[in-house]
């Protein structure tokens, strides 16, 4: 119980620390904006168009693969904690699970889902 309270306290501590440090420059820094300070930096040329561009589909592919393999890790870590108790049977069951996911990785690799130009 006390350990969970400790986690809560460090959450509050970190939030307050972050807010204070950011607020410091808001209070102490000068405030004289002009047109050139308020434009975004694009290596000296005038910025044009909306900056929130359409994203490349590859980033979505990475995100989808991430979900698949992160869920795999979520299943494997609890197994890893208790694997010693279950011996060869536990290993065989996990091996089937890992093999199916490895086939998934090979399939995605073969279809070019991991290619980056």
């Amino acid at each position: 119980m006390i350990d969970h309270i400790a986690i809560l306290i460090i959450f509050i501590f970190a939030s307050i620390l972050g807010a204070t440090v950011v607020a410091l420059s808001v209070f102490f820094g000068p405030k004289n904006p002009n047109r050139w300070k308020k434009t975004v930096y694009e290596s000296g040329s005038e910025p044009f168009g909306d900056s929130r561009l359409k994203l490349d589909i590859k980033f979505y592919m990475i995100a989808i693969s991430f979900i698949m393999f992160d869920v795999e890790a979520v299943f494997l870590i609890p197994w890893a904690v208790v694997a010693k108790k279950y011996g060869l049977y536990g290993f065989a069951v996990a091996f089937v699970f890992i093999t199916i996911l490895a086939i998934g990785l090979v399939y995605e690799w073969g279809r070019g889902g991991l290619e980056w130009d």
């Binding site: 006390i2 350990d3 969970h4 309270i5 400790a6 986690i7 306290i9 460090i10 959450f11 501590f13 970190a14 620390l17 972050g18 807010a19 440090v21 950011v22 410091l24 420059s25 102490f28 820094g29 000068p30 904006p33 300070k37 308020k38 434009t39 975004v40 930096y41 694009e42 910025p47 900056s51 929130r52 561009l53 994203l55 980033f59 990475i62 995100a63 693969s65 991430f66 393999f69 992160d70 795999e72 890790a73 494997l76 870590i77 890893a80 904690v81 208790v82 694997a83 010693k84 011996g87 060869l88 536990g90 290993f91 091996f95 890992i98 490895a102 990785l105 991991l114 980056w116 130009d117």
Partner: protein
């Protein structure tokens, strides 16, 4: 109850403000500037002087006044927010970046639980008899310690991604996208490579992991993570370096391509906070790798009552308990700083990767290797 909460506050201040932050910010100076200047055959920072303290006014002090001056200077700089930026998120994001870097420290054990009674050493473990154990040397002794670390490091993706989006600048957006894609890619191999170590220790509690690393294989070889899981150590080191966007993996902020990546449009203390959170995260990588793979606070052959050579009940060289604690905390700090030094050496030795190389390394090399490492480890553990 009140004393418990005061103790927790004391521990948080000690760990975060007296250990993580000073080492993190000192490393910005010594690691990033002085070490880089030595590698590149320059002098590095040497102009600032501490002239307010008599006697030190003429000494360069290896450039330490520069780092004090930089921190102070940032407070008095203008906070410029570009037109079209999302002001709310632009203000919140630096704190969001600092938050995970600090709260991750909650589970790092700096020493075993303090024993009020007498310590008996059995089978390479300190057993506390006639007394209680008190948790003085880690902020929270969570049973799911390592899962907590993974959870918080998942949250740290948001800081970079939102910073890139909120600035309304093209360089920032590209930097934010690159950093989020890179961080989630390496999170997979990070979790899977360390699963092998979890298999061997059979626990997620970081302090219990360190206690088990005190075991001696054959009576002489310490059972550190790097000895039983050498491949996982290298995969984990690489993945964690990519997570913190350091070293050859600094694509998200590649200076020669996208200016400063996701924090191009941040100035004054906001910029300093994002930088500081990166350095604190780098120190955390050192501490976590030291805990899982380098024996944490363990000194080889040193147990609660002194040095034991082999599985003996009495110590070959007895030491008082305070000396053991001091040696162990010193060893932990040394290991952390060693991993940090290694990261900075790699940063200034290797050229930056191309982005497709980073992605190939994560998905096509680290991920299959960590899966293979897990299967082989599981097989060996199952037949033994």
């Amino acid at each position: 109850m009140l004393t418990d909460i005061l103790l927790i506050l004391l521990k948080i201040v000690a760990v975060v403000l007296l250990f993580a932050m000073p080492i993190g910010s000192l490393m910005t100076l010594l690691g990033d500037r002085k070490q880089s200047s030595m590698i590149q055959n320059r002098v590095g920072p040497n102009r600032a002087r501490l002239s307010i303290i008599p006697g030190l006014g003429r000494l360069p002090l290896v450039g330490i006044p520069h780092f004090l001056a930089d921190g102070l200077k940032m407070i008095f700089k203008e906070d410029a927010i570009p037109d079209g930026a999302d002001r709310t998120w632009h203000n919140i994001v630096p704190a969001m970046a600092l938050f995970p870097a600090i709260v991750m420290w909650a589970v790092i054990p700096f020493h075993d639980h303090y024993c009020t009674g007498e310590i008996v050493v059995q089978n390479y473990r300190d057993i506390c008899v006639e007394g209680q154990t008190r948790n003085f040397f880690s902020i929270a002794n969570l049973d799911a310690g390592l899962l907590y670390v993974f959870a918080i490091s998942g949250v740290s993706v948001y800081g970079a991604a939102i910073a890139g989006w909120a600035s309304n600048a093209k360089y920032s957006l590209i930097g934010g996208l690159r950093s989020s894609a890179q961080m989630i890619s390496y999170e997979v191999s990070m979790a899977l490579s360390v699963a092998g170590a979890i298999l061997i220790y059979g626990t997620l509690n970081l302090n219990e992991m360190v206690v088990q690393q005190g075991h001696l294989i054959g009576g002489w070889l310490p059972m550190w993570g790097i000895v039983v899981q050498p491949l996982a150590f290298f995969i984990f080191l690489g993945a964690m370096m990519a997570e913190t966007k350091r070293a050859p993996f600094d694509m998200p902020e590649g200076e020669s391509e996208i200016v400063a990546g996701y924090f191009t449009e941040f100035s004054s203390m906001k910029f300093a906070v994002i930088q500081l959170s990166e350095y604190v995260a780098t120190v955390f990588v050192g501490a976590l790798i030291a805990t899982i793979f380098l024996g944490g606070w363990q000194v080889p052959y040193l147990y609660g009552d002194g040095f034991h050579f082999g599985n003996t009940p009495t110590a070959a060289l007895e030491l008082p308990y305070w000396a053991v604690i001091a040696l162990r905390i010193g060893a932990f700090s040394f290991k952390t700083i060693f991993i940090l030094w290694l990261q900075f050496m790699l940063r200034w030795t290797l050229p930056r990767f191309r982005y497709d190389q980073v992605m190939n390394l994560g998905w096509k090399i680290f991920l299959p290797l960590s899966l293979a490492n897990l299967v082989i480890t599981a097989f060996v553990v199952a037949i033994l």
